[in-house]
């Protein structure tokens, strides 16, 4: 039973000393401290440690008054300095201005992404020196020899080339 009481106290002691236990738990720990010697010893040990921390930690890093005064002097100079840059920064960093800035950045990114595509589109529209396409195909149906019938007459799309009327160009069909 004492073992259980001690374990219970040990678990709850820090919160008991810190004053953040529920009313029922606080009363229970208090009763165990009164009844059980080990619990009482644990309480005293814990309490002493907390007290020592409370007394020793504030002594850590005690400031040098002379140094604090020097810091104040430089702080005072900073405060007296005209806040032109900071005002500009504040205006620039205001919520509306930020939205505007983000808008500008997004626009710049969009242009940067679209620019290569636009350039590519225009370059595809530019005249390219393609091979001439046949304007019309006609087959001469006059009786000829088998080899002659396989001739396909191509007429180019350039009428009156060199002032001699439509230029006809005979191209022999592939030999099937």
């Amino acid at each position: 039973m004492i073992g259980f009481k001690y374990r219970y106290c040990k678990v709850h002691m820090a919160r008991y000393i810190g004053g953040d236990l529920s009313e029922a738990a606080r009363r229970r720990v208090g009763r165990y401290i009164d009844e059980c010697e080990d619990c009482h010893r644990e309480y005293r040990r814990h309490r002493e440690f907390a007290l020592k921390l409370e007394r020793s930690l504030p002594t850590l890093g005690r400031p040098n008054q002379q140094r604090l005064d020097q810091l104040w002097s430089s702080l005072e100079r900073e405060l007296q300095r005209p806040a032109r840059n900071s005002m500009w920064l504040r205006d620039f960093a205001s919520p509306h201005s930020l939205q505007f800035s983000y808008g500008l950045v997004m626009l710049a990114i969009s242009i940067a992404l679209l620019l290569p595509m636009l350039i590519g589109f225009h370059s595809s529209l530019a005249p390219v020196d393609l091979p001439r396409l046949p304007h019309s195909i006609s087959v001469d149906r006059t009786p000829r020899t088998r080899a002659e019938n396989r001739q396909i007459i191509f007429a180019t799309a350039e009428p009156n080339c060199c002032g001699r009327g439509p230029m006809l160009q005979n191209t022999p069909a592939p030999d099937l």
Binding site: G18, K52, L57, L75, L79
Partner: protein, 201 residues
């Protein structure tokens, strides 16, 4: 007690109003009131004099330039200043996550004993201070903050939760856990070290 606190709040509000109106003496009064405590807080969290001074200066500069934004209905000036300092300390130890050596500490320049202090007393004080600093540095940053605010600055759990930006229950459990860890890490060295630190001061 409550009356005293109310009076003190009214007094601080008056100083703030004067400072906002452009009275330089108002700023000086606020600095005198909080600089030492804020320095101790920064030093206890960072364990480095130079960093603590830098953070102190930055925090005051920010606070003074934004004093018009301070709302005494939401928090006390002390809590507001501590919040600013703690957030700057967090940035600093985030930047210094890698192992760094404080050259002044390395060369033994930091712990200067007062002239009247005997050499043995100075040595004991240094040992005690170092062991506490080590134990604090072994804690995680959040636990260290909770312990320093609770035991070093004597803040209530509510104030700690405001400064740390967490629920009050979380602040309580961080203090409890930090207390346990600190006790464990100081026990092997000897609990007498704390006593020593208190005795020689």
């Amino acid at each position: 007690m409550i009356e005293d606190r109310r009076q003190s709040h009214a007094e601080i509000d008056a100083i703030i109003a004067r400072a906002i109106a452009g009275d330089q003496v108002g700023y000086a009064e606020l600095y005198d009131r909080y600089a030492a405590a804020l320095y101790r807080l920064c030093y206890s969290l960072l364990m480095n004099e130079q960093d603590a001074e830098d953070i102190l200066q930055e925090s005051f500069l920010y606070a003074f330039k934004n004093l018009h934004r301070f709302d005494s209905g939401k928090a006390s000036l002390k809590t507001w200043l501590y919040t600013i300092a703690v957030s700057r300390c967090r940035n600093t130890y985030r930047r210094k996550q890698f192992f760094t050596v404080d050259i002044s500490q390395w060369l033994g320049l930091e712990l200067k004993a007062p002239p009247a202090e005997a050499p043995e007393a100075a040595l004991m004080r240094r040992d005690a201070e170092e062991s506490i600093s080590r134990a604090l540095l072994d804690l995680s940053p959040r636990l260290r903050e909770a312990i320093v605010l609770r035991y070093g600055q004597g803040m209530t759990y509510r104030e700690i939760s405001e400064v740390m930006g967490c629920p009050q229950k979380t602040a309580e459990s961080r203090v409890r856990l930090g207390h346990q860890r600190l006790k464990q890490s100081l026990q092997p060295v000897g609990a007498g070290l704390l006593e020593e630190l208190l005795r020689v001061r």
